[in-house]
Symmetry: C2
Subunit: 337 residues, 2 copies
Amino acid sequence: MAGIKEVAEEAGVSAATVSRALRGFHHVNAATRAKILAAAEKLDYPIAPIQNKSALGRTNSIGVVAPYISRWYFAQVINGAEQALREAGFDLLLYNFSQMKGRERLFQHQLLKGRVDALIVISLPPTEEEFDSMLNLGIPVSLVGMHHKRCSSVAIDDVASSRTATQHLVNQGHKKIGLMSGRPDNPFNFSVPQDRRKGFMQALAENGLEWVPSREVHGDFTMHTASRAMDDLLARPNRPTAIFCESDEMAFGAMQAARRHGLKVPDDISIIGFDGHEMAEYSDLTTMEQPVQLMGEMAAWSIMERIRKPSAEPHSLVLPTTLVVRNSTRRLSPNEA
Amino acid sequence: MAGIKEVAEEAGVSAATVSRALRGFHHVNAATRAKILAAAEKLDYPIAPIQNKSALGRTNSIGVVAPYISRWYFAQVINGAEQALREAGFDLLLYNFSQMKGRERLFQHQLLKGRVDALIVISLPPTEEEFDSMLNLGIPVSLVGMHHKRCSSVAIDDVASSRTATQHLVNQGHKKIGLMSGRPDNPFNFSVPQDRRKGFMQALAENGLEWVPSREVHGDFTMHTASRAMDDLLARPNRPTAIFCESDEMAFGAMQAARRHGLKVPDDISIIGFDGHEMAEYSDLTTMEQPVQLMGEMAAWSIMERIRKPSAEPHSLVLPTTLVVRNSTRRLSPNEA
DNA sequence: CGTACTTTTGCAGTCGCTTGCAGAATTATT
DNA sequence: AATAATTCTGCAAGCGACTGCAAAAGTACG
């Protein structure tokens, strides 16, 4: 109810002075400021006042775009970003795009124009065209979980990390290694599946292991599809002794399917995941852990920095991953391999 | 860059007409509208234009407040709400309050004033005082996961659902039933722990079962603390044959601890959870499923309805829960009980 | 006490869009 | 064709803050 005017009147000054006093800029007499603060207090007017988009030209809020906000990974990143943003006084506008139909509207900036001061895009590789649109908005854009030369980003090295994960299996004596990867035709065109697959292949190649295509199945990064895919894989002849899953959730699905088929993990089959999902510990899943929450925070800081000085060059940040060895993988004795 | 003015000029009409045309109100000649649309298109001006808070008096965005946005339950509710809001053209502002310090500022509406048209509060029971503040904002407030006479809400019947869950254990012949509940001194003062505990106690009483206090341990709704708490419980004499966990995540922790202690679920101990967590299926956990996503959607619709007609009475909605029986609970033979 | 600075403050214009009102253009009626 | 009824459209006044400019008030100094 109470606006800047009411406060001004209450304090016996002009609205302009109230605006200045509350923002701390310019010169305002200490006594006057005190009066104004008292008045604001009395009228329950926020000390950090309602910013006004039209006057300010900015909204003080930052958009976060993600394809599935309720999946663990995204929720974590968002959480990290939220914390950093809130701390710095920004609001966070959430844009979810599990439905493809939204994407178009989003990237054609119908939705974003003028509503946010910057954009954090999580794991959703825009096409070059969409990129043009986004950059045309004239606001900084920051990517999480992927890179692009035209804007800042925070990510891990998916290729190297996958290679390390796969190498772990090799080190444990596995030679017949299966791959649970993302669907090559995923609608969002995520880059993660390709990258992790690439790292996997590299590790195989480096160790002189032959790649057998029938050892690969696809899922969409959910437990459910992974579980089905695993059924499929296990039904095939010449079963692998270990499986690299491109995400922990898929690894969970794989483990479940394995159990359903009467296989023990890791006795009968080793499974390694990727992400460092909260439940990995519970499931005793060996996994490649990525600093999810931190990625959100870094993206937030980085983009706020760019809001401050828009001229700054975009820069990409690569955060380290950690192999966490648990008991879903085991060493194969030479005669088992 | 392009504003309504530019579009107006391009189309050879006044800004006012553009505004009207793009909003679809009032009468605008079809031909004129076409010209305007063409101009907008050409200049890349959003068809759904940037609403202007000062002129409109509203922001077209709705705040969602939750204590832990990255926990499964909250992420699901938020997801549901986001979908409904987006569909209706609202933006969603996310407020996370894992840190208590934020709470104060939030409810003293320093943060919210003028930034949102309505507020959805998830599982965070405000004190009466905070309630006053919120309602003073003059915007509709809707609660998820709890009720309050002074505003609309969407929730399940925690008491009845817990009673049903517990009854399930009783029906399976369990007499020594343990309880994994939320900490009574939880900082947010959640109502859920009390309610679920109450339902549990009711079931016991109705079946003439004695309540043994040493069969209760507390967690904070995370797997981790639950796991520790379970260690504690299992170390005590006269171990229960079944345990009701107030959340699935706690149930996961309990299952993990049980396994660690060499106990098989459900052979040695039955465990039932609450929530219908995505991973419950994977863990074969019997649980009381609540329609999480739906709750978010309903809250969103309900609050948008109240934005439309602010005079409407607040109403509370109770959604049904479903007992999903899996294999973490088993029937006890009479001589085991 | 008058002059020259500084600091403080208010006026009025602005931001980008909405909207009441009334005049203009179009269509209908007689 | 003149008048009335409708439908469009533009003008201008907001909305609620921010801010450049200049006047007002306060200080310093001679």
